[in-house]
């Protein structure tokens, strides 16, 4: 019935949304930040454990849709082992991909989000966790909102 929906809900996404990885609090984290999507009211919290400049561990909690949960789940897998600078670079790649559909460089499994740009109302969902990541890395105290994300 839902013919072309698979470019949004790819199998990997469905899998990660139903079985999110790293879905837990991290009491001893080095830093954390909250992401807020005013469009739906969903909140997501991202936790990072750093070793110097390197992200050793990542996890998340919160409510959200399938897309935002899968995005957070894949994010936490993806950034483990990356330096801060590498994570920021990935954020930019992911943002460009999600808003325009164009993938610059290799983003690995994250490429499953390349179809989101066709669903402008869901771009904020996919990007939510990434905004929280940046908030955590940059030490922002206030929740990061997707409000002004161009969709």
């Amino acid at each position: 019935m839902f013919d072309d929906i698979n470019d949004l809900y790819q199998q990997v996404i469905l899998d990660h949304c139903k079985h999110p990885r790293n879905f837990h609090e991290m009491p001893q984290c080095s830093c954390s930040a909250q992401g807020f999507n005013p469009l739906c009211g969903d909140n997501l919290k991202l936790f990072l454990t750093l070793d110097g400049d390197v992200i050793k561990d990542a996890s998340f909690t919160g409510s959200g849709c399938c897309i935002s949960k899968a995005s957070a789940s894949l994010l936490t897998d993806n950034v483990k082992g990356k330096t801060k600078a590498e994570a920021e670079k990935t954020f930019e790649q992911v943002r460009d991909m999600i808003t325009t559909g164009t993938v610059n460089g290799d983003v690995g499994k994250l490429a499953v989000f390349a179809g989101v740009y066709k669903y402008p109302a869901r771009v904020k969902c996919a990007i939510l966790a990434w905004h929280a990541l940046i908030g955590a890395l940059r030490g922002e105290a206030a929740p990061v909102s997707t409000e002004n994300e161009q969709t």
């Binding site: 019935m1 839902f2 013919d3 072309d4 929906i5 949004l8 809900y9 469905l14 139903k18 469009l39 739906c40 009211g41 969903d42 409510s63 959200g64 849709c65 399938c66 897309i67 669903y119 109302a121 869901r122 969902c125």
Partner: protein
């Protein structure tokens, strides 16, 4: 008997496909579609009569002024106002409520006073009062809802109607729960205590017969776009005696009697509250919409709305893993629901793939959502041009969504 299906011919937008499926438009609580006659009224105005109103003497200006003021008279009749002078044109319900808060409210409220609302309110009937409370030091209290049915707990009313209450503002029909509030009774209780009342008629005005004198409120606000009219136009009705005591809202052309560099006198209602060149095509389109609705009959429309909503609620109830919101009895034309483990926005995205336009989210009733322990719901909302067959499609789509996420 109204031939509901044949009315669909009047709505060009309904005859299109979305993702290869016939469009099923179930987002009517957000905004309604427009019949040909409303679109034609706009076109006719711009092709024949467009001019600025009120101060003009030439032919086009006369025609524009006549059409504009005829829309005011028509609006008065639509809600049985005593006089056209009680009709203020606004951008919509939101502006109407803001106007009351900023004029009546700023003049009459002070620290210690209380504004009584209900937990059902739309942000548009919350935020203006919160802003006013912040400015004046007044306090806000709420009539609680009892649970997922969205019904108000009126047993609390006696204790909430304290002598400090100066304004009681309430939604007529809740846009997220489909509850119809007993506004006549609530206004009567308030009136006995000298409390001024406002009814948010955004979801009621075009769906059932409205008689502001019978309701017994002091203000009634609604939006044109939700009742087959154009976007950007709405009506605030106020009882003449109250309007006459209110300071102006915006300042500018059209609302003044005379202006000096240092002294200015304002007109009476309604013009006092309409500064600058108004939306002119808006009221003219709204006039056509009101004619269209009343030709069908709002009592008729209400019955049709309710039938569809009851039918949809019943079919949904037969599904597993679903939570349904709204009253058991006298449900207005909408159903809010949640599928277990499926976010409302995923439901809406998938439904759209099946041609069905739903809305997901907090429906601008975020505090109510929090109270019920959810972030959002999915909502199907109906109007007279919707059919039972469309509800059947919708139910099929919901079943498929359940399968999709269960697989």
């Amino acid at each position: 008997m109204t031939d509901w299906t044949s009315l669909r011919k009047d709505f060009p937008i309904l005859h299109q496909q979305v993702h290869g499926k016939p469009l099923v438009y179930f987002d009517n609580a957000a905004t309604s579609q427009k019949p040909r006659s409303v679109i034609d009224a706009l076109v006719h105005y711009y092709e024949r009569d467009n001019a600025n109103v009120h101060r003009g003497i030439h032919e086009l200006s006369n025609r524009a002024t006549n059409a504009f003021e005829a829309a005011r008279t028509r609006s008065a009749k639509f809600i049985n106002a005593k006089s056209a002078d009680e009709i203020i044109f606004t951008r919509g319900t939101t502006e109407g409520i803001n106007l009351v808060a900023a004029t009546w409210g700023a003049k009459n409220l002070k620290a210690g006073d209380v504004i009584l609302l209900t937990e059902l309110e739309h942000h548009s009937n919350l935020v203006p009062w919160q802003m006013l409370a912040q400015k004046t030091g007044a306090k806000i209290t709420y009539i609680p809802v009892t649970g997922d049915d969205g019904v108000l707990d009126l047993s609390k009313l006696d204790s909430l109607l304290t002598p400090q209450v100066k304004m009681f503002s309430m939604v007529h029909i809740s846009n997220s729960m489909g509850v119809v509030n007993p506004v006549e009774e609530l206004c009567a209780r308030a009136r006995k205590l000298g409390i001024v009342t406002l009814v948010d008629g955004a979801q009621s005005a075009g769906h059932l017969p409205v008689d502001v004198q019978a309701i017994g409120c002091d203000f009634f606000a609604f939006s044109g776009h939700k009742i087959c009219g154009p976007t950007g136009i709405g009506v605030l009705w106020g009882r003449q005696e109250i309007l006459e005591t209110m300071p102006p809202y915006q300042g500018g052309g059209e609302m003044i009697l005379s202006v000096g560099y240092h002294k200015t006198e304002f007109k009476h209602a309604p013009h006092r509250f309409e500064a600058g060149t108004p939306d002119i095509s808006g009221p003219i389109g709204l006039h056509a919409a009101m004619d269209y609705l009343d030709a069908i009959g709002r009592a008729n429309i209400w019955q049709h709305d309710q039938e569809l909503a009851n039918y949809a609620a019943e079919k949904l109830s037969a599904l597993k893993n679903i939570r349904i919101f709204g009253p058991k009895k006298n449900r207005a034309g909408l159903v809010s629901f949640l599928l277990k483990d499926v976010h409302a926005h995923d439901v809406v995205t998938l439904a759209n793939q099946g041609g069905v336009a739903l809305r997901g989210g907090h429906h601008c009733t975020q505090p109510l959502m929090h109270k019920l322990g959810v972030e959002s719901t999915a909502r199907a909302s109906f109007y007279f041009y919707n059919t039972k067959a469309e509800v059947d499609v919708f139910i099929e789509v919901i079943k498929e969504i359940q399968k999709f996420f269960a697989a």
